[in-house]
Symmetry: C2
Subunit: 224 residues, 2 copies
């Protein structure tokens, strides 16, 4: 069946809603860490990273052809407030912890959406093209890796903090799948399409996200 | 003389530094008002407005050919902290006042840079093309005008607040011209190029900025 921008697949609309909502949250977290960055170079870099998160979000919204901010809001509304618990449980102590929260939280959200997209009827290609592959040259990662490399005590603290943040982020996965049946159906189809049989769709997802998180912490030079 | 991106006019570099620094500040103010916006539509709209402020800033930095965030930071460094007094004197009470602060502060900064650009040896065309003319369909203006139109008490409070913010913003003009002689030289040449003789360059500038502020408050539906 040809893609019909005017009547998108409901599963695609739900997935784009999740991806767009977490993308807007990522924009806000990165922009806030730009505002309180310790120097102008980091401030500029993180503003650019926030701008890139927003551009990615807008490419995703284009997939379901929603016009204007009100249309975007309608697609995101089912997820409004979905990050409140995560946010309340991960109050950072200081700028670097706040930045790691945004890198890890945004990273897990992007990975989750990419994995779920494999369950779309037409496959994940269009979605992945919009959301992008994990970037090894992500500017926020580079700023954070630089700060950690310069301060061993900070690096140890961030390693612990990263485990806390990823634990809370992964804890959201079953909550999201339970609250949004189209996402649970995508997870089941994505697992079926992969070679890793056996585990439940949820366990399969969490193990994929955990593996990607380990690679992310490696890029940051932090113990996962 | 042809434009030489590798050796830009020092006055252009100073003006781009001011415009880029205030543009980065505008990005931060608008992004912060996206984060605490009362609904998802406003949150999305103000994220987009922040992204546009950042794109404008990057087009300006391209005029002086500075590579990467560190190069951008070097051009902005002479202005680092220049808005601290303005910021301390304009602590908003609530979201709408914060948004008006960003619209007025950003607007005055853009107007100032556009007026000063008229004093560049090659004229203002390239600079104005990068920074843009005042937009009547600015998304942050539309959000704020909508909030004010729906609440007469808020509109009265915002009209007062706008006078306070523009007073503090205009008060920065002589400080900036005194601290940065290339800007004072641009102001003198810009005034000489205009038809309004007589007044000092500083008085001429402030009167131009005040007139543009009145038009801005009109677009917001607020008494100037």
């Amino acid at each position: 069946m040809d893609q019909q921008p005017s009547t998108p697949d409901p599963a695609l609309t739900t997935l784009v809603g999740l991806a767009a909502y977490t993308g807007l949250a990522a924009f806000g977290l990165l922009a806030a860490r730009s505002v309180d960055a310790p120097d102008l170079g980091a401030r500029q870099t993180l503003a650019i990273a926030a701008g890139e998160a927003l551009e990615r979000q807008q490419r995703l919204l284009d997939l379901v052809g929603v016009p204007g901010p009100e249309g975007s809001a309608a697609v995101m509304t089912p997820f409004d407030g979905a990050l409140a618990d995560f946010d309340a449980r991960t109050t950072p102590s200081g700028w670097a912890e706040g930045l790691l929260k945004s890198v890890v939280g945004l990273g897990v959200a992007q990975d989750l959406c990419r994995e779920l997209a494999a369950g779309l009827p037409d496959g994940a290609a269009g979605f992945v093209a919009a959301v992008g592959e994990p970037r090894t040259d992500d500017p926020a990662t580079a700023v954070l890796a630089g700060a950690a490399a310069a301060d061993g005590v900070l690096a140890s603290r961030l390693a612990l903090w990263g485990r806390r943040v990823v634990g809370e982020a992964l804890g959201l996965v079953p909550v999201l799948l339970a609250a949004h049946p189209p996402l649970a159906a995508l997870a089941a189809r994505a697992r079926a399409a992969s070679d890793d049989g056996g585990a439940s769709a949820q366990a399969w997802l969490v193990s994929r996200l955990t593996a990607e998180h380990t690679r992310r912490m490696d890029r940051l030079g932090l113990a996962a």
